[in-house]
Amino acid sequence: MDPTRLRRCLEPGLSILVGTADAAGTPSCCRGIAIQSLDEFETVTVFLPVATSHETIHNVATTKQLAVVATHPRDNFATQFKGITIDARLAREDESIFVRQRLDAHANMLERIGVPRRLTHRVAHWPAFALTMRVEQVFDQTPGPKAGSRIR
């Protein structure tokens, strides 16, 4: 597993998607604002706006299952992490700067591909939930013939 490849998933400017399912297996999705890993991807923490992630929080509370995709909007380079949620909490005040910086970076990235920054900044981002998952599987999700192939 190329560590450089994984580290790209922590760069600023990414689009973050989060997938869950309820106890009956009905899937749900929402957009994340930021992603973080402090232990070489043994665990990953994803930050979700409280305003839009009620269903996601409800699902992980019952099933623990979590899927997170980090994508570079400019080149569609994408990686999917799957695992078990080990912590779900409100993001701390000291994490708000990190979350805000990531939203700014994402707005910059989207502006380069034609989405005005003023629009991106209207997206709710705080307060946020922080969901930490133990990473069990990693998949290459970049569009192409290798999309969906497991890389860890």
């Binding site: 689009s15 009905t26 995709v69 999917q80 799957k82 034609g114 999700q141 192409g144 999309a147 969906g148």
Partner: protein, 463 residues
């Protein structure tokens, strides 16, 4: 808050990629971006199935999904609760979704590698705005045609019809159509390409809004956006070209890693930073007459209303072009006997002693079937042979007036026996001369007749 799918049509234009979440039989979720969510009707959407095999497997085990789409103008997100119904691998829906993907694939040199496997059709059990997604309510930005817009476009239709009916020749018809598209639809970057059945290529015959006219530029059937529309004879509207191209290039990069043979990417004709494209086939029955292409830097420039409306307009334009070509043919016969009677009315092409006119060097490269003027490419194929013939004849006899008819009977030119598009080839030749060698002109002197005018001496070389 529930919404009708038809009220959020902008979300389905692909400007901002959508996402879809599924779960397998054990409830393990999977989430991916999807390149196209297609609005089928108020209760159904279709998703393009290209590479996402895990999503497909999940749907087989657990046929429910959740998609999120986003309005590119307001950035409001909407969640759709979906029930998987079926995969379509042929039929009108598949063809429509496939055209867009094939065009992008061809444009990025990925034809055959990057293609639609199936159109996955879902029933939408619920569609609702994601509450709290935006910190302030989105402004009301109406979509589609306003009454004023429709009135303007009805006037546009009337105006185009009049232009087609009144056009004195094919050239004025083409110019009139492009003018009308700009005046009534604000399409400022447009081109018309005509189909040459003999070599199965399309040649740019008229354009508007570009620094370089591009007249003479050719596209093969199935090549790029225009060639794909021509081959499929179906209209194509891309509203997020840059996003689609990024997606295509990502696939190309991944495929190249796998050492597959990839064709060279075809440069996008016209605007280098076009964000939206509308390409309309001009057909009469199954016969392809040509293609109209419009592009714009605004990703939301072309709406569904334009698509439906211009499809109707295209039929009229196709009929007008075809009728004009037929009319030129009929009148050519009447002109045949007159052509030889006209003596030379211009100065000789060949420079004589004391002649201080500028000398233009024209070289015909037989192996390439192309003419260069002062070492710059001018034209090739049949228009090149026509120019060479009339230059040679004029040099030899001093004759300057010619008829379409005499070109048609000259088998060395290689004109097809039927539907020879002679008039459009002469327009092409005339415009290329205007751009590259304005000292030499092909001037229409009546239907089916033209004259060679020159204010320079011509030096002809054949290699």
């Amino acid at each position: 808050m529930s919404v009708r799918l038809s009220d959020i049509r902008r979300c389905f234009q692909g400007v901002i990629p959508s996402m879809i979440a599924t779960a397998d039989g054990r409830g393990v979720p999977n989430i991916i971006y999807v390149s196209q969510v297609y609005h089928v009707d108020d209760r159904h959407v279709a998703l393009s199935c290209q590479f996402f095999t895990k999503t497909r497997r999940n749907l087989d085990e657990n046929p429910v999904a959740c998609a999120e789409v986003m309005d590119p103008v307001t950035l409001q997100a909407y969640r759709l609760r979906l029930k998987f119904l079926r995969s379509e691998r042929s039929g009108p829906l598949f063809d429509t979704m496939s055209l867009r993907i094939e065009a992008i694939a061809s444009h990025t040199g990925m034809a055959g590698v990057f293609r639609l496997i199936a159109a996955d059709v879902f029933e939408v059990s619920c569609a609702e705005a994601v509450s709290g997604f935006l910190t302030e309510a989105p402004a009301n930005t109406p979509d589609g045609a306003s009454l004023d817009g429709m009135r303007t476009e009805m006037r546009g239709l009337q105006w185009v019809s009049e232009r087609i009916n009144r056009a004195a020749g094919l050239e004025s018809l083409l110019c009139g159509v492009l003018e009308a598209l700009e005046e009534y639809f604000n399409f400022s970057h447009t081109a018309i390409l005509l189909h040459d059945e003999a070599n199965r290529r399309l040649t740019t015959i008229a354009s508007r809004g570009y620094g370089e006219s591009g007249v003479g530029a050719e596209v093969g059937m199935g090549e790029g956006l225009i060639g794909t529309v021509a081959r499929e004879r179906r209209l194509l509207r891309l509203t997020s070209l840059e996003a689609d191209l990024r997606y295509g290039r990502a696939i190309r990069r991944e495929a190249e890693d796998g050492r597959r043979a990839i064709q060279a990417e075809i440069p996008l004709p016209g605007l280098p930073d076009a964000q939206s494209v509308l390409v309309i086939p001009l057909t009469i029955g199954d016969r392809l007459v040509g293609v109209i292409a419009a592009e714009d830097r605004d990703p939301m420039r072309f709406s569904e209303w334009h698509e439906a409306y211009l499809d109707v307009l295209a039929n009229q334009i196709a009929l007008g072009i075809d009728r004009m070509i037929e009319r030129c043919d009929e009148n050519a016969d009447a002109a045949v006997h007159e052509a030889h009677a006209h003596p030379s009315s211009i100065s000789a092409l060949v420079a004589g002693p004391g002649d201080d006119r500028r000398v233009r060097r024209l070289t015909y490269y037989r192996s390439d079937d192309a003419i260069f003027v002062d070492d710059e490419y001018l034209i090739r194929n049949i228009p090149a042979r026509i120019l060479w013939k009339v230059l040679a004849e004029s040099t030899r006899t001093g004759r300057t007036e010619f008829s379409n008819r005499e070109l048609r009977v000259d088998t060395s030119l290689g004109l097809p026996p039927v539907k020879d598009n002679l008039e459009s080839r002469l327009i092409l030749l005339r415009q290329r001369l205007q751009e590259k060698c304005p000292d030499l002109q092909i001037v229409s002197t009546g239907r089916g007749r033209f004259a060679l005018r020159s204010c320079a001496a011509v030096e002809m070389t054949e290699r």
